[in-house]
Amino acid sequence: MIRFDQVVKRFGDVTVLRELDFHVKPGERVTLIGPSGSGKTTILRLLMTLERVTSGTIHVDGECLSHVRRGDRKVPADERHLRQVRKKIGMVFQQFNLFPNMNVLRNITEAPVRALGVPREQAEEKARELLDMVDLADKAQAHPSQLSGGQQQRVAIARALAMEPEVLLLDEVTSALDPELVSGVQNLLRDIAHQGNLTLLCVTHEMNFARDISHRVLMFDQGQIVEEGPPEQIFTEPEQQRTRDFLQAVLNA
């Protein structure tokens, strides 16, 4: 579903990803862990086309993100191509990024209506189903500023799902929440993870959450994968010293 080949990402002099190779199978749920600045979020941002690779290639569902074939040559992707590949991907942000000038319902329906051309009534019906799922059916007319952080993030999840992505990217989705609101969002994501065949790529510092939802955990450090494996292995008997140190640090925090 997702394939990174020799991906390098530099910001100025800082190399964030070093010749990174990894792949994610359809329906697989992968969690990226590691210290801040290790490049985890950059991976999600590259996939969402919010950043561009310095070199290397990323494929989503067999299609190259950054380049298109024109005859025998590969040329940088244009906006049309990007829009095409983005259709398969959705993202939930650490800071929710709901549109403050729209009510909750409109936040969810705006993209299906404007980007996919879904008729408004149909989009609203779907939005109400999603709001029901995230347990916010009564907040359809509310504005984001009237909601708690946890409620806003649940709306953001509904908004991402309304586009029916095949891949969902979760970028530290509970990091900006008050501690007592974290579990609500996590439970919701757990349900979504276990009932669907959504491919999930998740960056988190919540190790219990990572353990619950993922098939595979990737430990990152300095732009490279240090260790990977099923959560039971990574969390109970990591092979690398670097992983042990990291887990010790976050679990005792």
Binding site: G90, F93, E110, A115, R159
Partner: protein, 217 residues
């Protein structure tokens, strides 16, 4: 010199109706033009095509750096030589509007830049087409942020509107001057005209400050 109440009452209705009407027409016409044109200027200056953004930027800087008075003179007395003929009031409204558009465009620019990056990123993540990102996400937030500053420019345009009297527009100040010149007595008409401005500008400023505070929260 003693205040002449009889004359005051005599000239008051004319100043209130005819004079103030022209002032309001010039102010509202100029403001609407400035607010609309300014938005387009702000958007064009952000264009990724340098052959659009550069000239628009240069013209806007030029207009902002030259006096309104000169621009009014050119519009009213020079343009007819090139076959562009308009009434004094229309010329005045265009002059005010274009001049202040160069200021309001900066207000919008700041408003647009103030929209958090996360909003753009969310729009990209949702695959929202670029023009819809502008129309339904960025501009509503940018304009809302711009409202207090635009309100201040509305008051500024109102206060600058008497400059139109140099191109024969008879606004409240122009009328006061005419009335004064009839009797060589300016105390009453000018005082009344000045009070009008005070009585309108002060409440307007208070309203804007309230709006500012409300938008802050």
């Amino acid at each position: 010199m003693i205040w002449d109440w009889d004359w005051t009452l005599e000239i008051l209705p004319g100043l209130l109706t005819q004079g103030l009407l022209v002032t309001f027409q010039a102010t509202l016409g100029g403001a609407v033009l400035a607010f609309v044109l300014g938005l387009f200027v702000a958007l064009l200056r952000r264009s990724r095509r340098p052959y659009i953004s550069r000239p628009v930027g240069a013209i806007s800087e030029f207009i902002r750096s030259t006096p309104l008075l000169v621009q009014l003179f050119v519009l009213y007395y020079v343009m007819p030589d090139f076959g562009v003929r308009m009434t004094a009031l229309t010329t005045g409204i265009i002059g005010l509007g274009v001049h202040y558009a160069s200021y309001t465009s900066e207000v919008y620019r700041a408003g647009i830049e103030g929209v958090p990056k996360g909003q753009w990123e969310a729009a990209i993540a949702l695959n929202l087409p670029r023009h819809w990102t502008w129309i339904s996400v960025v501009l509503p937030q940018a304009v809302r942020r711009s409202l207090p500053a635009l309100g201040n420019y509305l008051v500024a345009i109102f206060k600058e509107s008497p400059q139109l009297s140099v191109i024969t527009v008879v606004d409240v100040i122009g009328l006061a001057r005419e009335l004064g010149s009839e009797r060589f007595r300016y105390l009453e008409p000018m005082t009344i005209a000045g009070l009008f401005f005070l009585l309108i500008a002060i409440p307007a400023s208070i309203l804007i400050r309230r709006m500012e505070r409300r938008l802050d929260t």
